[in-house]
């Protein structure tokens, strides 16, 4: 099994607070690696560190064996490492298709050719159409993002990630605030995406996590409490005491 993304002793301090403390994990290709933990455990900060949105205080991040610790977020995205956001973070006044096309455009060369119409860029159009199709938003392509339901906006978050043709996906609570039906559809999408992506899934919904995850890392107060296969993590007495409770 090949390692897609690897974090070695990744640490982030905010003043006296260590939000992420020497966290190490390995994401494998075609696997869903879930990160669970209570609020404030450092899960979102971990995604910010891996995606390059925040610089590391210490540690190392490698993508397919290459050290990307010093890379900017756009450079990481260009290398196929992309993330979605916990809170909806889309272009509200633009249509669903324009949201996806704008994201897809990031991967197209010769962007400085100002005399070429953006709408004539076939590669961005088809990447956007493909992403909407996969995320189940094709029928809403023309609607402004602002008019979508909450669940549809979560789908759009993922669609915009897919439009950039990522190899490694960092999904920050994609199920947050979703109804049962929408959650089921999103989980189905994740199972399909697993076939050709490495996925890091930060999620609070334990049923969902244990339903799709191939590996689970449990974080408490910024540190890793346990990591392993779902059955092992569930049976771990430390995890039960600290987090899962009576689950």
């Amino acid at each position: 099994m090949t390692i897609a993304l690897r974090a070695d002793a990744v640490t982030r301090r905010f003043g006296a607070l260590t939000a992420v403390d020497t966290v190490s994990l390995s994401m494998e290709d075609r696997r869903i690696h879930a990160v669970i933990g209570t609020n404030g455990a450092g899960k979102s900060t971990l995604i910010n560190l891996l995606s390059g949105e925040l610089p590391l205080s210490a540690g190392r991040v490698t993508l397919h064996g290459e050290d990307i610790t010093a890379w900017s977020q756009p450079r990481r995205a260009g290398a196929g490492l992309n993330r979605s956001y916990q809170r909806n973070n889309v272009f509200l006044p633009l249509s669903v298709r324009e949201n996806c096309r704008l994201a897809a455009q990031a991967r197209q060369p010769r962007a400085w050719r100002f005399w070429e119409a953006a709408q004539a860029c076939r590669a961005s159009q088809s990447a956007a159409d493909d992403a909407m199709e996969r995320a189940g938003l094709a029928e809403h392509a023309q609607r402004p993002a602002a008019s979508l339901s909450h669940g549809q906006k979560r789908q759009l978050e993922v669609a915009m990630c897919l439009a950039t043709a990522p190899k490694v996906l960092l999904l920050d609570e994609p199920l947050a605030g979703m109804g049962a039906e929408e959650s089921a559809r999103m989980l189905e999408l994740m199972r399909r995406l697993r076939q050709d992506h490495a996925i890091l899934l930060v999620e609070h919904d334990m049923d969902a996590v244990f339903a799709v995850a191939d590996a689970i890392t449990v974080m408490v107060n910024g540190s890793v409490l346990a990591t392993g296969a779902p059955a092992d993590v569930r049976a771990n007495p430390d995890v039960q005491a600290a987090y899962l409770g009576g689950h």
Binding site: S51, E53, S72, Q73, P74, R75, A77, G78, N82, R83, Y85, N89, V90, F91, L92, P93, L94, S95, E98, L102, A103, Q105, A106, R107, Q108, A111, W112, R113, F114, W115, E116, A117, A118, Q119, C121, S124, R143, P144, A146, S147, M160, A163, T164
Partner: protein, 338 residues
């Protein structure tokens, strides 16, 4: 598409403007040509700022630095005793504005929001005082351009800028060039990325856009086009002084695009025309003309949140407007990229 109807609008506007020198006496006088040339020069300046403020979301309060730098470049580089080479001076003026924008842009681009406003203002003030305090640029007295630059090919003079109608035509051509460049930019992937940066820069970076590079490119292009306006100002008036570098000049351009409509190219041109023409009209009426102009601006901003370009939509009865298919909340404006 919307872009086709806006192209038609520009074509009609430029065709009408082109007839001005041939109009009969009460309108087509040298005074009116001079005033119209002034309007068009300010329109180019406002259009260049629109790319930064209305499109990219970078509110600059230092745009006069590039306008003034180009104007000063003309007077500093033109020969004293004869007409300078128009092509060379135009290139030098626009080039120095673009170079200055590259240097300032590289230094200010890391700041955000209100800090960006303050830092652009600070750099513009720096440029202002360099011109104001150094004798080489003429100090507070300014500097003169004694001969209008000559645009010739193979020793043959193409047009004589000393004639007001010719200068007006030349300015109209420069305005059309500016509109064409910006229209192309807005429908390109580059322009769409700038709109994306205005809406949500963080998301653009997450998608893989090096937003700093995009913003700097927009800053340099806007600076270069402001330089074109500065070149026209210096050659028309034959005189530059530090006032054209002052923060009032930057502020006026901001008022023009807010007056016309933020984010709209026609808005920038209409705002510039309204500003220059109203200032002229109010000055003829009273010495307290700035009070009248200020009142007008406040009234427009209060009554027309989308600026003067929002006026037709406001006047069209609601039933004649195309019914919207979706029940999108009115508070969420819809934006269609060209």
């Amino acid at each position: 598409m919307a872009s086709l109807s806006s192209l038609r609008g520009w074509a009609v506007a430029f065709a009408l403007l082109a007839t001005l020198p041939w109009l009969p006496a009460p309108i087509g006088t040298p005074y009116h040509l001079e005033l119209a040339t002034q309007v068009l020069t300010m329109a180019i300046f406002a259009l260049s700022l629109q790319l930064l403020v209305g499109i990219t979301g970078l509110v600059s309060l230092g745009h006069a630095a590039f306008y003034g730098a180009a104007a000063y470049a003309v007077t500093a580089l033109a020969p004293q005793g004869e007409a300078g080479n128009g092509w060379g001076l135009l290139l030098a003026a626009v080039g120095s504005a673009a170079l200055l924008a590259l240097v300032i842009g590289a230094l200010v681009m890391r700041t955000q929001a209100v800090y960006f406003i303050m830092v652009t203002l600070a750099f513009a003030q720096l440029v202002y005082f360099v011109a104001h305090d150094s004798p080489w640029f003429g100090g507070s007295d300014g500097a003169y351009l004694y001969f209008k630059p000559a645009f010739s090919i193979g020793g043959q003079l193409l047009f004589d800028l000393d004639r007001p109608a010719v200068f007006y035509g030349f300015t109209l051509g420069c305005t059309a060039f500016t509109v064409a460049v910006l229209t192309l930019v807005l429908r390109s992937r580059f322009g769409h990325a700038l709109v994306g940066i205005r809406h949500n820069e963080q998301r653009m970076r997450a998608a893989g856009f090096s937003t700093q590079g995009y913003k700097l490119a927009a800053f340099v292009l806007a600076g270069a086009l402001a330089g074109l306006a500065g070149f026209l100002y210096a050659t028309r008036s034959g005189y530059v002084n530090p006032e054209i570098l002052s923060w009032h000049q930057s502020g006026n351009a901001l008022v023009m695009i807010i007056l016309g409509g933020l984010g709209s190219l026609p808005g920038a041109a209409i705002g510039a025309a309204a500003f220059v023409l109203l200032a002229e009209a109010f000055q003829a009426m009273t010495s307290h003309w700035q009070l009248l102009l200020g009142g007008f601006i406040i009234a427009i901003v209060a009554l027309l949140p989308r600026g003067l370009v929002g006026l037709p939509a406001l006047l069209t009865p609601a039933r004649r407007r195309a019914p919207s298919a979706e029940a999108a909340p009115a508070a969420q404006p819809r934006e269609v990229l060209p």
